[in-house]
């Protein structure tokens, strides 16, 4: 949008995100009925989920643990005694007429998420992370709405950023980073298309250099990664156009329509809904004590951003490779295991290279993931050691890789069996070089008189004579010596 690019020279967007993430528990947040995607309507309810008279909430321990993992991973301040609050509004998908959420005393505050943008770390502050229950689903069918309460009561965390995101690209990157983190921590599948991760964006603009925030609108119904950037850009452009035109921005909620690529006003936020929050009297305070925190801390893996930095610094990986490795916790762990089995300064780069090209290539061709790899990291490690110490050439290495991947046989055994050890003995190679040059005197003359391309021919002949086992570097050296240049 060059139009937008121009606009952005004088206007600065200010974005805050509210992201809801469904926690991967077996049962619901405040009742023990099951959590399952795609079940027949109203088959996952119980009297409490239906908000029947006389029912009461009981809090899911695992939901707390998963939320705490996120709190710790984002270096949030964890409240020792957190409270649930009732948030009141009338809507058919909210059976009790209120949502159990958190207000004054949320579980986590003042954390941050680190984004990697153009190789640099950019920190986005998180105002809060709190627990709440999801609502059911309301579907419009003509003049009526149909209500399915299967989803009502599913545990969510709501992650609220400070309004410190300054471009639609950053917003999209935030979503990707959060998505990666929650999957990394195994707290959510976070499939946006299944509604397991939802994004609302608060968007405003101001003239560059100004301190004051402009009027903001809330953008809802952004239900895929693609749309995050588009929707926000569209809203930024819409606001700038209005302001340039001398109009003012109405504080309102707008719904994104991905098919039409536009947003539509939902309701005016001028008279904001009064949710009448108060501490839920049915739920005493949640206590987070030292033993619980200890369990959570011990269960945390090294986080993606830390790992990215380590891969760059300690292993000298290129940013792109590091980024690919951290996109998938299983991939990163494979890499770490392979490095551990093959210590050495440059082993990291080599392992990354083979892992990302050879192994992933083979897995992709088989429609497999790294979790299903028939080649464990130690085996890859072993193979690479054989290449690195010169036992086999890189070219042979690739052949051995394929065979080991297919049959599961250990690389060194294959090498033994096929007798494909590299020939690095200079004396032996010199003999062969001699033979080859002598047998091809004409080409030798032609090369001597300037036909550079013929060098490859000689290399090829040496390889032929040695069944590909000649050490290419030594071969090249010796040929240059013998051919005189």
């Amino acid at each position: 949008m060059t139009d937008l690019t121009e606009m952005l020279e004088s206007w600065e967007p200010v974005i805050g995100l509210e992201v809801h993430v469904q926690l991967a528990t077996l049962s619901k947040a405040f009742s023990p009925s099951a959590v399952k995607f795609g079940a027949p309507p109203n088959s996952l309810t119980d009297p409490a989920v239906l908000g029947m008279p006389g029912t009461l909430p009981t809090f899911n321990q695992h939901a707390l643990e998963l939320a705490l993992r996120l709190g710790v991973a984002t270096e949030s301040k964890i409240r020792a005694r957190a409270r649930f609050a009732r948030k009141h509004y009338f809507y058919p998908d909210q059976p009790k007429g209120y949502q159990i959420s958190q207000y004054d005393e949320p579980l986590c505050e003042d954390g941050h998420l680190d984004l990697i943008i153009a190789g640099e770390v950019r920190r986005v502050r998180l105002q809060r992370i709190h627990l709440e229950e999801d609502a059911g689903k309301n579907t419009h069918v003509g003049a009526l709405s149909q209500v399915d309460l299967n989803r009502a009561g599913v545990p969510l965390v709501e992650v609220v950023t400070a309004p410190e995101i300054y471009s639609s690209e950053e917003a999209a990157e935030f979503m990707r980073a959060l998505h990666r983190l929650v999957r990394w921590l195994e707290i959510s599948e976070a499939d946006m298309e299944k509604g397991q991760m939802r994004c609302d964006a608060n968007v405003s603009v101001r003239r560059r250099g100004e301190d004051r925030l402009g009027t903001r609108t809330e953008l809802k119904n952004i239900n895929s990664f693609r749309f995050v950037q588009n929707a926000i850009e569209h809203e930024i452009a819409r606001q700038i156009r209005l302001l340039d035109d001398g109009q003012r921005i109405i504080q309102e909620t707008r719904l994104w329509d991905s098919e039409r690529g536009t947003s539509e006003s939902m309701r005016s936020k001028e008279t904001a809904e009064d949710y009448r929050y108060f501490p839920d009297p049915d739920l005493p305070p949640v206590v987070v004590d030292a033993p619980l925190m200890g369990t959570i801390l011990r269960s945390l893996p090294e986080l993606p951003t830390q790992r990215f930095l380590r891969y760059q610094k300690t292993h000298g990986l290129a940013a792109d490779d590091a980024r690919t490795l951290i996109s998938d916790r299983a991939l990163a762990e494979y890499f770490d295991a392979a490095v551990k089995a093959h210590p050495g300064d440059s082993s990291g780069r080599m392992i990354a290279n083979w892992l990302l090209t050879e192994l992933l290539g083979a897995l992709n061709a088989d429609a497999k993931t790294i979790e299903d790899t028939p080649m464990p990291p130690e085996r890859l490690s072993e193979l690479l050691r054989l290449v690195e110490d010169g036992t086999i050439s890189g070219k042979i290495g690739k052949e051995i890789f394929e065979e080991s991947y297919r049959t599961g046989e250990a690389p060194h055994e294959i090498v033994e069996r096929r007798g494909v050890q590299q020939i690095s003995d200079e004396a032996a190679l010199w003999e062969i070089v001699e033979q080859v040059v002598t047998a091809n005197a004409k080409q030798a003359e032609a090369y001597a008189s300037g036909k550079d391309g013929l060098f490859g021919f000689f290399v090829g002949q040496v390889m032929k004579a040695t069944n590909g086992r000649a050490n290419p570097v030594i071969t090249s050296d010796l040929l240059h010596k013998r051919l005189g240049r």
Binding site: F59, N60, Y91, Q146, P285
Partner: protein, 100 residues
């Protein structure tokens, strides 16, 4: 004097989704006003530093293990609904404005 204005009565009735006939609203304005008057005294009580009451015998929230219990059979879940379409609850659509 927290006398309620008619506007406030209407606002509160809306927040609470209670339809009031005009005479009801008038009576409500009068009765609530008198009751609220009676509570003015509360404002003068010094409650600085006094924590809000949570439980007679203080307790922490018990955590429920993440185990699934059987749901109500769907028929049971929707049986009492005044309006249904198969296994779904049915309500009139909202006028104006889209889905939440």
């Amino acid at each position: 004097m927290p006398q309620l204005t008619r506007k406030e009565v209407d606002e509160i009735a809306m927040l609470a989704r209670l339809h009031l006939e005009p005479d009801e609203a008038m009576r409500m304005q009068d009765e609530l006003g008198k009751i609220l008057d009676h509570f003015l005294a509360l404002a003068t009580v010094d409650t600085d530093g006094v924590p809000a009451m949570t439980h007679a015998v203080p307790m922490d929230l018990r955590l429920r293990p993440d185990e699934v219990a059987p749901s109500l059979p769907t028929g049971e879940a929707v049986r009492a609904a005044p309006a249904r379409e198969g296994d779904l609850f049915v309500v009139p659509a909202i006028i104006g404005g889209g889905d939440k």
